[in-house]
Symmetry: D2
Subunit: 132 residues, 4 copies
């Protein structure tokens, strides 16, 4: 659906529409996975050992959500803003992915969330390359 | 992916997991569609006639995003909060869907966005029924 | 500053500008207090007893932030949407305030956050009355 | 209130508490000002000349809101994530401030919003310096 919406937009995107649509999908998935993982970690018996994971999950969810919105808007698009926000998102996905990977063997939600973070990190890295 | 995450959560959901996963997917799609539609309307030549559509798109995007987060969290879940927030989302999707439908013949982004709003309105209505 | 911004807006607000500005200030304060309280609870030794508080804090922060945005927008304003979202915010502030009050004697952040929730609940209730 | 909440938090902040509280206040104010300014611009007769301003206002509002949340969380705090997100916020406030300044003589909401963006840009720059 993202691609359909992007193509009906009067303004051309700065990067290839499929690269942008791919990033938007990864961002939405990662934001949702991180929100769920934070809540699932909070419900675990060993919550006191999952504090850093919860904190990073919540940060990554917020950064992904804001990045998706910044990337969606073509009107008033500012390259410096877009590039800096996507770079912040790469940092958030990388940090959260690494933390979730540490618990991936023990918690299925951390395993799935880590994969989601890594996909999003890659999609944002590809986008930065495409932005030049 | 939502279903996989929900099933790995230590706390059982208040409603059937597939009903919840369906609502979360519809909410993410609608929030993204509304953000894109607002920006596409803003770029149209006839922007002055699309003001109400832009305003409702932005409101619906924010309400859907908040509703998805409230629904995702099982820890500290409060039925009154969940029910009231989902009801607010039904109102937002209904208002935005109706406004987008008025421009659906002229703007493809409004047509796609209206469909997304209607799907989300239905998913949230189903969820309210399931919540009882 | 909110009042200055509201008065420079070309569209008249649905309610008295000072009632609206008061609500917007309470919503921003409550959203920030809840985000801080969630993180402070997460850092406490007794985190396992504060899970519900963290979950409600996070929900209340999201609902307050979305409500502030809905209330800020006068273009495309829809009474049903505004009323339902403010009602959801009253429910969130009430639930979070009650939970924080249970820990107010033990945790200063819960005490301050509870007060912030109650102020926001009242400001939103006043707004609902003003909306009629 | 921010300072009171920060001081009741079990974890010490990475930077001086007053620098952090100052940044959080500037971020909340700027996010609110940008949301109002976007809506006020949308209501102006000359909306077609204010498109870029609306787009940048919406982006800046989202980036400021996410940055405030990232800065608020001390649990799982990651310097690379915080620094990159604050840098993205400096870029957003700078771009939005410059655009609003172009309309400051004509629209009071743009004048007030520009000042809010500049204050937030400075507060985030000070924070980056404090972070080292």
């Amino acid at each position: 659906m993202n691609l359909e919406m992007i193509r009906s937009h009067p303004v051309a995107t700065a990067v290839d529409a499929t690269v942008l649509a791919n990033a938007l999908e990864a961002l939405a998935e990662c934001s949702q996975a991180c929100t769920t993982c934070a809540d699932a970690c909070l419900a675990e018996d060993m919550v006191s050992e999952l504090r850093a994971c919860i904190g990073l999950n919540l940060a990554c969810a917020d950064v992904c959500a804001a990045t998706a919105r910044v990337l969606t808007r073509q009107v008033g698009r500012d390259t410096a803003v877009v590039t800096a926000q996507v770079a912040a998102c790469v940092a958030a996905c990388s940090a959260c992915g690494s933390e979730c990977e540490r618990h991936a063997d023990m918690h299925e939600h951390c395993r799935v969330c880590a994969e989601s973070c890594r996909r999003c990190e890659q999609a944002c890295t590809d986008l930065l390359t495409a932005l030049g």
